[in-house]
């Protein structure tokens, strides 16, 4: 399992240089598509899940406004803790 996991990482890192324009364009889209899927995979389509969506949206908005990654995460977590404390 360790070897299989390591190989998937090594193959990409050691890949041959890519020069074709369309391939470079596809590779440039990896972070955009992958990060979007990583966010969506952690959220659920349930009526009472809206607050979690809002918290994640807040983190994204903070980053959009120029906050560093740690501040966006911290801001989102603080909003979640304050929000849930107010509801209780």
């Amino acid at each position: 399992m360790a070897a299989a996991t390591f190989l998937t990482r090594l193959i990409g890192v050691s890949g041959v240089p890519i020069h074709r324009a369309w391939a470079l364009r596809v590779i440039a889209l990896v972070p955009v598509a992958a990060f979007a899927v990583l966010v969506s995979a952690s959220l659920e389509l349930r009526p009472n899940a809206w607050f979690r969506w809002a918290v994640v949206g807040l983190g994204g908005w903070l980053s959009w406004r120029g906050a560093p990654t740690w501040a966006a995460i911290g801001g989102g977590l603080a909003a979640y803790l304050i929000g849930t404390a107010l509801v209780r």
């Binding site: 399992m1 360790a2 070897a3 299989a4 996991t5 390591f6 190989l7 998937t8 990482r9 090594l10 193959i11 990409g12 890192v13 050691s14 890949g15 240089p17 890519i18 369309w22 364009r25 596809v26 590779i27 440039a28 889209l29 990896v30 972070p31 955009v32 598509a33 992958a34 990060f35 979007a36 899927v37 990583l38 966010v39 969506s40 995979a41 952690s42 959220l43 389509l45 979690r52 918290v55 994640v56 949206g57 983190g59 994204g60 908005w61 903070l62 980053s63 959009w64 906050a67 990654t69 966006a72 995460i73 989102g76 977590l77 979640y80 803790l81 849930t84």
Partner: protein, 180 residues
């Protein structure tokens, strides 16, 4: 397993499969499938790692996980990324992952449900924060929207990491289509 494999999704799946009596070969194939996204990550970072010696590149590759990729990719856009950055971020995450695993095992009975205190939100918050600056380009917004929607459908529907891989590829292909 955490020390040698260092891949959260593959580890969780392997433990579940092993508990069901799955053969060792199935665990290996499943781990490879779940981690296929790392090939895409590696290809994406390869231009920033090309100057590194093969040994350093291989060492950096060991630490290539979702989070270290995200941080290194963002740093590369800002002109700070490279093999040393990936190695540093990866080592820090590796230590935190294994320390957290040990603490979790030792104190699991004392810890509250992570969902109650919002700890499970750290993962989507991290990637929302890494994604947001990339959305300043209109074309990227479309790609993210398509990949997000595809992820909502494919990730719960397909086993292992195939849903993640399929949704990512759908988003990338959409971007390629709209670019031409």
């Amino acid at each position: 397993m955490s020390l040698l494999v260092y891949a959260g999704g593959a580890q969780f799946t392997a433990v579940r499969l092993a508990g069901q009596g799955a053969a060792a070969g199935l665990l290996v194939v499943t781990a490879a499938l779940i981690n296929l996204r790392h090939v895409l990550y590696g290809l994406s970072l390869a231009p920033h790692l090309r100057t590194a010696r093969p040994v350093l590149r291989a060492a950096a590759a060991f630490f290539l996980v979702d989070e270290s990729y995200g941080l290194t990719q963002r740093a590369s856009v800002e002109g700070r990324g490279g093999p040393a950055y990936l190695l540093g971020a990866g080592t820090a995450l590796y230590l935190a992952w294994n320390l957290g695993t040990e603490l979790g095992i030792a104190f699991s009975a004392l810890l509250p449900d992570p969902r109650v205190i919002g700890l499970d939100l750290v993962f989507p918050l991290t990637f929302a924060a890494l994604l947001a600056p990339l959305l300043r380009q209109t074309a990227n917004r479309q790609v993210a929207a398509v990949a997000f929607a595809a992820g909502m459908i494919a990730v719960p529907a397909l086993p292992g990491g195939l849903g993640f891989l399929a949704a990512t590829l759908v988003g990338m292909l959409w971007g390629l289509r709209t670019h031409d």
